[in-house]
């Protein structure tokens, strides 16, 4: 039985990991800038990256439907397995709701999202300053929740590798480790 993730799943995992880190960093940095052409560019790139990540997570979930994730080692207690599954699904939920909240906040602030400057996303909300600010807070809160989960996720992976010495980390790594 193959205990590794499929190559596609591994590729999507790391592509999204890089994309999320970059888009998060950009989103954290850009609001503090004074208005400039660079700021407008960064905002657009952040939005385009967010839309891309949204489509990637849908692709990932579709792939996962037909290629289920390998089971956790039986050495992991049932309660911890449940917690692990809950956390993974919560991360997926956040990867879906974060771009959605960003798109809606942009809409409420009166700035349409046009993916790569080519594909206009519909503005579901009318311009509404108060709603725009609430959605900004929601977008931030969801992001920091995801950041917290990513830290726990990374810590857990390292714990599996360094302390439990199982294959939970290596089975998602792009290269095969032989031991």
């Amino acid at each position: 039985m193959n205990q590794r993730y499929t190559r596609t799943a591994i590729g999507l995992h790391w592509l999204m990991a890089l994309g999320l880190i970059g888009t998060f960093a950009l989103g954290y940095y850009m609001p503090g800038l004074a208005l400039s052409p660079t700021k407008l560019k960064l905002y657009s790139w952040h939005k385009w990256a967010g839309v891309t990540l949204f489509f990637l997570v849908l692709l990932r979930l579709a792939w996962r439907q037909s290629h289920p994730a390998p089971a956790l080692p039986s050495s992991v207690p049932a309660m911890v397995q449940m917690a692990s599954h809950a956390m993974h699904w919560l991360m997926y939920a956040l990867m879906i709701t974060i771009p959605l909240s960003g798109w809606l906040m942009s809409s409420a602030k009166g700035f349409q999202t046009v993916w790569f400057g080519v594909l206009p996303l519909p503005d579901l909300l009318d311009k509404d300053k108060t709603l725009g600010e609430s959605l900004t807070q929601l977008h931030e809160a969801l992001n920091f929740t995801l950041l917290g989960l990513v830290i726990v996720h990374t810590g857990a992976a390292l714990k599996h590798h360094l302390i439990d010495r199982d294959d939970v980390l290596t089975r998602i790594l792009p290269l095969k480790f032989k031991d």
Binding site: P37, L40, Y43, G110, F111, Q112, T113, V114, G117, V118
Partner: protein, 190 residues
């Protein structure tokens, strides 16, 4: 007798002719600024952004019986711009953009009005903006509606022609050179 007859005939003729012209001719001599609107859209990183000018004064002297003689002028308070965010609005006052401290207003004064078909008119004139005066022309459609006339028009202003958005903002890939200006002037019929 013949004198009185002539007099009456002249009076009847004047009334008939005058009546005929009066029934058709409409005059517009003032603009209701509250009901009127000046808006614009431009392209920012591929997305359309909408904005308005809140404060302006428009003058009009239009007689549908003699449209060629019509005159119009418009003075826009540039500080009243709303380009969608408070950041943008304060940036637009700066020297690289409108430089409102030195050039607080934009003015348009018509020099010719050419009637086209179906209540459409080609209005040409001089636009003074940020210390530069240039010829501009727009097709205007008049929609007579009950006791008011609505003049709708639009034209494309190249911001680069007037030095609007200089220096780092000169990148038309971020903010387009083309600014689509739309206006709607509401004038009560006289």
């Amino acid at each position: 007798m013949s004198y009185r007859f002539l007099q009456s005939a002249a009076l009847i003729a004047a009334l008939t002719l005058g009546g005929a012209t009066c029934a058709q001719a409409v005059q517009y001599k003032q603009v209701n600024a509250r009901a009127s609107q000046i808006s614009f859209t431009y392209n920012q990183m591929g997305a359309r952004v909408y904005g308005t000018f809140g404060k302006f004064e428009a003058k009009i002297d239009f007689d549908s019986a003699n449209p060629e003689a019509a005159r119009t002028s418009l003075t826009i308070e540039l500080a009243s711009i709303d380009a969608g965010s408070s950041d943008a609005n304060s940036e637009l006052q700066k020297p690289g953009w409108f430089n409102t401290a030195v050039y607080p207003q934009a003015t348009f004064i018509s020099s010719s009005v050419k009637p086209l078909a179906d209540n459409r008119y080609q209005v040409s004139g001089k636009l003074a903006l940020k210390g530069q005066t240039r010829d501009v022309s727009a097709e205007i459609t008049l929609k007579p509606d009950n006791a008011i006339g609505v003049f709708n028009g639009e034209f494309i202003l190249k911001r680069g022609d007037f030095g609007i958005g200089e220096g780092e903002w000169g990148d038309y890939g971020v903010i387009s050179n083309d600014i689509h200006i739309k206006f709607r002037m509401v004038a009560p019929a006289q």
